[in-house]
């Protein structure tokens, strides 16, 4: 058991998981997901918000089964390896707010860290600004960590608490089965569907769900985290998680070459804009929020699956944040940042700095 347990947490384990995600993410694009968006936790949470009608941006409405699979796959892995630990109570409202602003920042750039890597691997040069911004935001966050930033302790709680996000996701899946997509119809029962745009582009439900389950399972085992990758590199000069992130990038690049999905340039990149400064600053906000919340959007889903109720709240914050982001014109589009994109970045940065400065304990 111990040997199996440690396998995915080794250097080669995390690299293997990065390769696995790189292969499947690019294949998902071939199987129907939007270009350079095989897997994007921010975009997919946003699409889920759209499917639920929390925002009415018609081009980004789809109940992404990958997200459902991530949480469920992680829960299965956690139970299989006796790691399911229901816990909660570490500044829940702060987690929620951080999730919301992480999403708002990510939607100024148009992607989570996973998609930033996939965009770069697909030849989108604008992603360089996003990744640089992400690293900058994380670097700011490490200064808070060094000066005693903490959201306090979570405590063990009822198993049902640890199950709540998984049950919510199963509820979403049920809705999707009860109200399946009707071709060229924007609505099926209570769910919204996109008839054009990124939300209309998706792999078959079963394929998306299975990939989600597999990635969720492996990511729970390996603790794959793109924010942690950069954080540990900056804070401890440690390359463990970073090697997984690099493996994802390199693998996706090679896969894109093989699949004919590599198109280098800055202009007219899929679901992307060319405003470098705002790509940078949007991801600065997101990176700082991820760090203060303890994980990238993917990692929050995996933590929620293994019973972390605070991570679950971060996820719900992201979904609600996506609603605000589109309703308030803060999200970007391929033509550039939204009318309130600048205000979103300024507010997001202010909120994150407020949290970072005010939630520090003197070193024990």
């Amino acid at each position: 058991m111990a040997a199996v347990k440690n396998l995915f947490a080794t250097r080669w384990g995390i690299i293997g998981v990065g390769v696995f995600i790189g292969v499947l993410a690019t294949l998902l694009q071939k199987w129907g997901n939007p270009a350079n968006m095989g897997i994007c936790v921010a975009c997919f949470d946003r699409d889920i918000a759209g499917a639920l009608g929390l925002h009415r941006a018609e081009v980004v409405q789809y109940m992404r089964p990958e997200i459902i699979g991530f949480v469920l796959g992680s829960l299965i892995a956690a139970y299989a390896f006796r790691e399911f630990r229901p816990r909660a109570g570490s500044a829940p409202i702060v987690r929620f707010v951080l999730g919301a602003f992480a999403m708002i920042g990510a939607l100024v750039f148009l992607g989570c860290p996973w998609r930033a890597l996939l965009r770069l691997a697909g030849g989108d040069g604008n992603a360089i600004f996003g990744i640089a911004g992400l690293a900058f935001g994380i670097w700011i966050g490490t200064l808070f960590l060094k000066s005693g930033y903490t959201l306090g302790r979570a405590t063990p709680t009822y198993p049902a608490v640890g199950w709540l996000l998984t049950l919510t996701m199963l509820g979403f899946l049920t809705l999707m089965l009860v109200f399946p997509q009707v071709p060229n119809e924007p609505k099926s029962g209570v769910l919204f569907y996109s008839v054009k745009g990124p939300g209309s582009q998706h792999a078959p439900l079963v394929v998306s769900l299975l990939v989600g389950l597999a990635v969720g399972f492996l990511a729970q085992r390996s603790r794959f985290c793109t924010m942690g990758a950069l954080r540990d590199l900056i804070l401890f000069r440690q390359v463990h998680l970073f090697s997984g992130m690099l493996a994802l990038l390199v693998t996706a690049f090679v896969m894109n070459l093989l699949l004919g999905q590599f198109h280098p340039g800055f202009e007219k990149q899929p679901v992307a804009h060319t405003m470098g400064l705002w790509n940078f600053l949007g991801m600065t906000v997101a990176g700082l929020a991820f760090l203060l919340g303890g994980g990238c959007p993917g990692r929050q889903l995996f933590l929620a699956g293994e019973g972390d109720g605070d991570a679950a709240l971060f996820v719900l914050g992201m979904i609600v944040g996506a609603g605000f982001s589109h309703n308030f014109g803060m999200a970007s589009s391929p033509s550039g940042i939204g009318p309130y994109g600048v205000a979103a970045v300024v507010t997001g940065l202010a909120v994150c700095l407020f949290i970072g400065f005010t939630m520090r304990q003197k070193a024990a």
Binding site: A9, G152, R223, L235
Partner: protein, 71 residues
């Protein structure tokens, strides 16, 4: 023996606390309480990078009690 209680704390605080204490001690023994397998792995990795050896990891409550040493 010096003790770090990192139970319930988010990443990377268990590692930060453990490394801080190791730095303060220089050598000797240190007990670390954590509540997840992830923290056991992370603290192990960090300790070994600083030349400390993980002598024991024992289940305790819902988590683990780790003992690390450096001669």
């Amino acid at each position: 023996m010096a003790l770090v209680d990192a139970r319930g704390l988010s990443c990377p605080q268990p590692v930060l606390l453990a490394l801080g204490e190791m730095k303060k001690l220089g050598t000797g023994s240190l007990e670390i309480l954590v509540d997840t397998d992830t923290s056991v792995e992370n603290v192990t990795r960090a300790a070994e990078s600083q030349g400390w050896n993980v002598k024991d990891v024992r289940p305790e409550g819902v988590g683990y009690r780790m003992i690390v040493e450096k001669a």
